[in-house]
């Protein structure tokens, strides 16, 4: 009964989504208020029914209803309750439901928090969001119905893939989707503007906070994915340049460029066509990611089971959506020229470089990810483009970006006034270099170019980022949330850079064969293998190793890595044991049992790796702070702005 209820709710949601799009868009076009006023209630209704459907699916999981095919394939009665809920989005159909739920939540947020926006504009925004919802709901009902019955019902389920039985499954997809899908809002704002034929500073001011919040969630979502891969996949890497990882990173790069481009449009009504294009690109890349992970055109660890029929459907939807937006762009953008100017060395010029470099970075990743597909399609053979390529190539736009970041933060609008800042900035650079050299020599004993450049860049960006709020507070100037947010976010970039440089330059990975009683020394730590014993978990059996980690004789930690075999899927899984510190992670994973009682063990020393995710947290925090700036709060005026604004001049 409950699955059928859920199914029916989805159908109703589809009808409401259709109503939302048709009445919203047609109403705005014909300026019929009665039609436009259907949009908001339709959004609310759609949300209610989508939530109901999602609830029904969750209830089926919680109740172990194995007459539902999706539940039977992805759950099990021995699966702990926590994972039963997370398993809802563990495979294709359920994750699609999550996508739709997240979209309806964003839609309802837009509907609720936009009372001060003009009616025709908001009707168009909701209309476009409705079109996206319609597409996804149709896709779900036609090809990926999670409520299909399995008759006769299975005695017990297939169990959730052991790799997914982890806390991170509960948080990574929802947060990632909130980010990914949130770019649909910026996309809809862009389409609405193009349909209206009007794009101005007010539009940028409306769009910006929505984009920053989506970007913030995406930043955290990607960081969570990286962290999860690090401790779960058993070999201590934090980024693999896997096609699906790239598919989440590209919208992030486009989104970052978008936020910065919106700043220029908001302040000086410039870069309007760039901003539009970036808004389209960010969401397009999200849709592309959705396509890649479900179609089977690329090999990825993240791929859901692929089905060409589904692939064709998403591809068609993607074409319509993005094609439609780009057609609007080709129509409206030529009229978006501006006669405002700016000097080389002004903030606009730095943001222009920023846009360009981020777009180049995203394009390079796109090219590398899709190149095997191009080669295969042209019958030029099968090639692989893997981490060695991406690592080398990504640095090309990133190094200039990092260099310009330290300076660009201090630039001013329209005019170049950097000469005044030359001394403090150069001092900062020298100081960063000196500190980097000291750290590298004392902490790690050897200098590498990667470490020196990375640490210098990271430290310089940190000094530079802190300079702005510190000098403002000292000179008793106001510190608006947007300025503070920018500083925190850029501070995060510096921390991130330090983390990457540290871990990639000084990490040590060793595979050794150890017998109980033997030990190995790595980076000043002694890892002594004490042996293995059996443990039983709720739905798995494991062999647990015991390692005493000491430094200079004092015990640091006892690490217990496991090799688990989950009872239902009989899939062996390696659970690494990690000890975390302010300056390093120590990582031990069991390999294979060798002859006698010896085991192959992978031990890793990972300096500064936590700073990678800490940096991401600061970036997100900066975004949150910036989005909370007073000027984005709903205001009871129309879209004309006061002529003079006291805190105008040099704020971002």
């Amino acid at each position: 009964m409950i699955p059928e209820l859920g199914h029916f709710a989805l159908i109703l949601a589809l009808c409401l989504a259709l109503a939302q799009s048709v009445f919203g868009l047609a109403g705005a076009y014909t300026r019929r208020t009665e039609w436009m006023s259907v949009a908001r209630p339709a959004v609310a209704g759609q949300f209610v029914f989508v939530a109901l459907a999602f609830g029904c699916l969750t209830a089926s999981f919680l109740g172990n209803d194995f007459s539902v095919r999706y539940v039977a394939l992805n759950s099990n009665s021995a699966l702990p309750t926590f994972y039963r809920v997370a398993a809802v989005w563990g495979a294709h159909e359920g994750s699609l439901m999550l996508w739709i739920l997240v979209l309806s939540i964003w839609s309802i947020a837009v509907a609720a928090l936009s009372r001060s926006l003009p009616d025709t504009f908001i009707a168009r925004v909701l209309g476009v969001l409705g079109l996206i919802s319609t597409g996804f709901l149709t896709f779900t009902l036609a090809t990926s119905n999670p409520f299909l019955r399995l008759l006769p019902p299975a005695m017990d389920g297939n169990d959730l893939n052991p790799l997914l039985q982890d806390f991170a499954l509960a948080v990574h997809p929802p947060i990632l989707y909130t980010g990914y899908v949130g770019f649909a809002v910026a996309f809809s704002f862009a389409c609405a503007a193009m349909l209206e034929g009007r794009l101005d500073q007010a539009w940028a001011r409306w769009t910006r906070p929505w984009t920053i919040v989506a970007w913030m969630f995406l930043t955290i979502g990607i960081a969570l994915g990286s962290w999860w891969a690090y401790y779960e996949l058993g070999w201590g890497g934090w980024w693999f340049w896997d096609p699906v990882e790239n598919a989440s990173f590209m919208p992030w790069l486009a989104g970052t460029a978008l936020i910065h481009s919106l700043a220029v449009t908001e302040k000086r009504n410039l870069f309007r066509s760039w901003t539009l294009l970036l808004a389209i690109f960010a969401f397009s890349l999200s849709l592309l990611g959705t396509f890649l992970v479900r179609s089977g055109v690329l090999i990825s660890v993240h791929s859901f089971a692929s089905d060409p029929a589904r692939g064709v459907f998403i591809l068609a939807f993607l074409t319509l959506c993005i094609g439609g937006a780009l057609t609007l762009f080709a129509w409206r953008a030529p009229k978006l020229g501006s006669s405002a100017g700016f000097e080389l060395g002004s903030r606009e010029s730095f943001l222009l470089f920023n846009n360009a470099l981020l777009v180049i970075a995203a394009s390079l990743i796109l090219l590398g990810t899709l190149y095997p597909l191009f080669m295969d399609g042209l019958d030029l053979g099968k090639i692989s483009v893997g981490p060695p390529y991406f690592r080398a190539v990504f640095l090309v736009p990133m190094l200039p970006l990092l260099a310009l970041l330290g300076v660009g933060m201090h630039s001013t609008w329209k005019r170049a006034r950097l000469a005044e800042l030359k001394r403090p900035l150069l001092l900062g650079l020298a100081g960063a270099f000196a500190l980097a050299l000291v750290v590298v020599l004392i902490a790690y004993g050897r200098v590498t170019i990667l470490a020196l450049v990375g640490l210098t860049a990271g430290l310089w960006i940190i000094f530079s980022a802190l300079r702005v709020p510190v000098s403002r507070l000292l000179s008793r100037q106001g510190l608006p949330a947007s300025v503070l947010g920018m500083s925190i976010a850029h501070f995060g970039v510096g921390i991130f850079t330090i983390g990457v440089a540290g871990v990639e330059a000084y990490k040590i990975e060793k595979d050794v064969a150890l017998r109980p009683g033997q030990s190995v020394q790595i980076a000043g730590y002694d890892f002594a293998f004490r042996g293995v014993h059996d443990v039983a978990g709720p739905n798995y059996n494991a062999i647990e190793g015991e390692f005493d980690v000491t430094r200079k004789g004092a015990l640091v930690r006892v690490l217990r890595p496991q090799k688990r075999v989950y009872r239902v899927q009989t899939m062996p899984m390696t659970e690494a044991a990690i000890t975390v510190g302010w300056t390093r992670d120590l990582f031990v994973a069991l390999g294979d049992q060798l002859g006698g009682d010896a085991w192959s063990v992978r031990i890793q020393y990972k300096p500064l790796i936590r700073y990678i995710w800490l940096g991401a947290v600061f970036m997100a925090l900066g975004g949150l702070t910036a989005a909370s700036d007073r000027r984005y709060r709903p205001v009871r005026v129309t879209d004309t702005l006061p002529a003079k604004d006291a805190t105008a001049r040099d704020t971002p």
Binding site: L277, I322, G323, L326, T327, F329, G377, G381
Partner: protein, 177 residues
């Protein structure tokens, strides 16, 4: 003016590639050995370690090399078809027991039937690597000059034999004096 249409053009190209990409199998690797001389091997026979099986035994003759293991589910699936095809085929079937355990292999052939005129035992997988084997079952067709002319990945069926192997066998037989 036209530059505003560039993004749309880019999208169109991408969509075309994706559409054709949907019909491809990205994980299936074509063999670089096609058209090249088959890697030479000389391995102990699976049932009698004292005997050897080598490609020199088949000089001047066509043969089929089938890579299998008792641990491989696909091999179990194809075994019945393999027996049927091998019995009617003029071309000998040579087995390559890959990374397996001899007793298990012997048991398997005894219980399920032996389609091979000879079966080599590749314990450490080196010969498999030379042939570019990355999974089982895989089936190669080698012509009378010792050149690899076809490789099939995944279980062999009567249909695939008729479609991919027989035409090549006939063509090669005609070409040979």
């Amino acid at each position: 003016m036209w530059r505003y249409l560039l993004p749309l053009a880019g999208l169109a190209i991408l969509v075309v590639f994706f559409f054709f990409g949907l019909q491809r199998e990205p994980g299936t690797i074509p063999s670089p050995l096609i058209g090249k001389p088959a890697p030479s091997f000389s391995l102990p026979s699976v049932d009698n370690p004292a005997q050897s099986v080598s490609n020199a035994d088949y000089r001047g003759r066509m043969y089929v090399l089938n890579v299998w293991g008792t641990w491989c589910i696909g091999c179990r699936e194809e075994h019945a078809a393999l027996l049927a095809i091998a019995h009617t085929s003029a071309v000998p079937f040579v087995g390559l027991n890959w990374k397996d355990e001899r007793p298990l292999a012997i048991q398997w052939l005894k219980e399920l039937g032996n389609p091979y005129t000879a079966c080599a035992f590749d314990a450490d997988g080196r010969v498999g690597i030379d042939w570019g084997v990355y999974g089982a079952p895989e089936t190669f067709l080698v012509d009378a000059n010792g050149v690899v002319i076809h490789k099939h990945i995944a279980p062999l069926t009567e249909e695939i034999w008729q479609r991919d192997f027989l035409p090549r066998i006939r063509a090669a037989s005609k070409a040979a004096p």
